[in-house]
């Protein structure tokens, strides 16, 4: 059946991603590995957005904020450790990822839960607007946070050693760490959307009123899904901070939230793997089109338009059954 085509697609995609750095080295293009790694990091963020956008039907227009919060948590902890400036009491922060990454996940997940608590009182266009408003508040908070660079951003010593064995300064090793995280997020996401919890979240997308009539207190499930997505975006942000050794509020600008939505829609909503393809395609076009023309947006816009018009279920949708409109692929 078509499900097999999808499985093969996933296997081939992941195999290609695994082989990418080796090909780069073999062809003497080692400098590209960092670029690929950046794409995978955004892919993780896009997959996390798909959990609520594709499966939950919640159009969050502020997802880059959670990504940014995760990045800032890591950056600030690292900065304190590097400068030996006390953060709280006489604690100097840390660059141990066993502390900084879970901290990034918890803080961004917690803030996502708080935002969801208020945003989920609304639906539709109001939900889009309120998540955007919260994201803008967070953006301007970091812009005005002079202690950590404000608008100029924060540079920190990036000598992060992950789990005592992976040096994030080592392009290749860090690439595979990010790749492993992506695979784990995809696998965890697949388990999640097919679990009882995932069925409830998808039911809310299809018909929330009916879910309530069945006896589901829907808000708490949607809130949990939102928090999980925010936490996962925070993890992607943490990886991004380690990747750049520099962070600025621009990564949580509202257009970044828009980019993430485009990646999800482009790749295929409600498919998890689709957004990975969407991130690849989006960031590839964003990188290569400017080489041909400075007016690359004029080309990029119509390409997006055509893809959305003619591939309603995204690039990944080409590889699936054509009849259904639901996102409950296996």
């Amino acid at each position: 059946m078509n499900a097999d085509r999808r499985t093969w697609f996933v296997i081939v995609l992941l195999a290609l991603l695994a082989a990418l750095p080796l090909v780069a080295v073999a062809t003497g293009q080692d400098y590209q590995i960092g670029q690929f790694r950046r794409i995978l990091i955004f892919a993780i963020a896009a997959v996390s957005l798909d959990l609520i956008l594709g499966y939950g039907g919640m159009v969050c227009f502020g997802h880059a904020a959670f990504f940014g919060i995760g990045a800032y948590v890591v950056a600030i902890l690292n900065w304190h450790a590097g400068r030996e400036v006390p953060l709280v009491g006489d604690w100097m922060g840390t660059n141990n990822v066993l502390v900084t990454w879970p901290a990034a996940i918890l803080v961004s997940g917690g803030i996502a839960a708080l935002i969801a608590l208020i945003s989920l009182r609304t639906t539709g266009i109001y939900f889009i607007m309120i998540t955007l408003a919260f994201a803008q508040m967070i953006y301007f908070f970091f812009v005005s946070l002079r202690a950590y660079g404000g608008d100029d951003g924060l540079r920190f010593d990036g000598d992060t050693v992950a789990f005592g064995l992976i040096d994030t300064q080592d392009d290749m090793a860090f690439y595979y760490l990010v790749f492993a995280v992506l695979c784990a997020v995809l696998y965890g996401g697949r388990r999640l959307v097919n679990s009882r919890f995932g069925m409830v979240v998808q039911g809310c997308r299809e018909n929330e009123r009916r879910m309530k009539a069945l006896g589901f207190p829907t808000t708490r499930y949607k809130l949990a899904a939102f928090a999980i997505a925010g936490a996962t975006a925070g993890l992607a942000g943490a990886l991004f901070a380690a990747h750049e050794s520099y962070i600025s509020p621009s990564i949580m600008h509202w257009t970044r939230s828009g980019d993430l939505i485009v990646m999800v829609v482009l790749g295929g909503m409600g498919t998890l793997v689709g957004p990975v393809v969407g991130a690849l395609a989006f960031l590839f076009l964003e990188k290569t089109l400017p080489d041909y023309t400075e007016h690359w947006m004029v080309v990029f816009g119509p390409i997006l338009l055509l893809l959305v018009l003619f591939a309603r279920r995204g690039i990944f949708g080409w590889f699936g059954p054509k009849d259904d409109g639901g996102g409950n692929g296996h």
């Binding site: 097919n194 309530k212 069945l214 006896g215 639901g326």
Partner: protein, 251 residues
């Protein structure tokens, strides 16, 4: 036990601006009976059902269910107590299969759903009861069909299967026959007749043949007010009902 009252509505009032859609409605549903609500268009039947289900808050009056005042409870809390409703407009989950739909309804009554890891489609505890219910409503052959591939009548049967799957003590059926052909309607009537005695039902329905064939008691709603309650024979004979609703000719 046939006289035990399950649902008791006392002087319920709902106003929309100057319009009183529910005007001091008092009625009760006894355990095991089919209590039908009839009335002309705009009589406030759907408004009444929405208040009983908890989707709409009344301006006055009380709703007691199994001896407990449920007036302040919201729809999901009432559903957990055992009030299940089906909708006038089919509102099942279209992207899912019939079995997925009913399994989700079974899941609603099986504790919380903060279970993140095990595939729900592989859980016998959800799938087996769901299969049994689909068989009960006559959809055994359509278990794995996507809802979008089901005929209109089949979707209504599925709608009732989902209501049953929540193991309700009271079924609120809001015009289950609406938009159905004669054959489909007859099939659903047979299904409801089969469930009669096993389930307690409050049935809102336009089709008089169906109502008089199924109901133990009938309440007639006109302009938000109950003008009569009684057995089908009593309602047929009621002068006020004939004047207001059934017309003077045939009933």
């Amino acid at each position: 036990m046939a006289t035990e009252t399950l649902l008791s509505v006392d002087r319920l009032v709902k106003r929309f601006g100057g319009l009183t859609a529910t005007d001091n409605v008092t009625l009760d549903v006894r355990r095991g009976e089919i209590h039908a609500i009839i009335g002309p268009n705009g009589a406030g039947k759907t408004t009444l059902v929405a208040q009983l289900a908890g989707e709409l808050a009344p301006n006055g009056g009380t709703i007691a269910f199994a001896g407990r005042d449920v007036t302040p409870l919201r729809v999901d809390a009432r559903a957990r107590l055992g009030i299940a409703r089906s909708y006038q407009i089919t509102s099942v989950f279209r992207g899912f299969t019939a079995l997925d739909n009913v399994a989700l309804a079974v899941q609603a009554q099986d504790g919380h759903s903060f279970r993140f890891w095990r595939p729900a489609r592989g859980e016998a505890a959800l799938r087996e009861p769901a299969r049994a219910i689909l068989e009960r409503v006559g959809l055994a052959a359509r278990v794995d069909a996507k809802v979008s591939a089901l005929a209109h009548g089949e979707q209504r049967q599925l709608e009732i299967a989902m209501a049953l799957a929540t193991r309700p003590r009271l079924l609120l059926l809001d015009e289950p026959m609406a938009g159905m052909g004669k054959e489909e309607s007859e099939r659903l009537t047979r299904l409801l007749a089969k469930l009669k005695g096993e389930e307690t039902m409050l049935l809102v329905e336009h089709d008089m043949d169906v109502v008089f064939a199924l109901a133990d008691r009938i309440s007639v709603l006109v302009y938000g007010r109950v003008i009569a309650t009684g057995t089908p024979a009593e309602i047929r004979a009621d002068a006020a009902v004939r004047a207001a609703y059934l017309g003077d000719g045939d009933a």
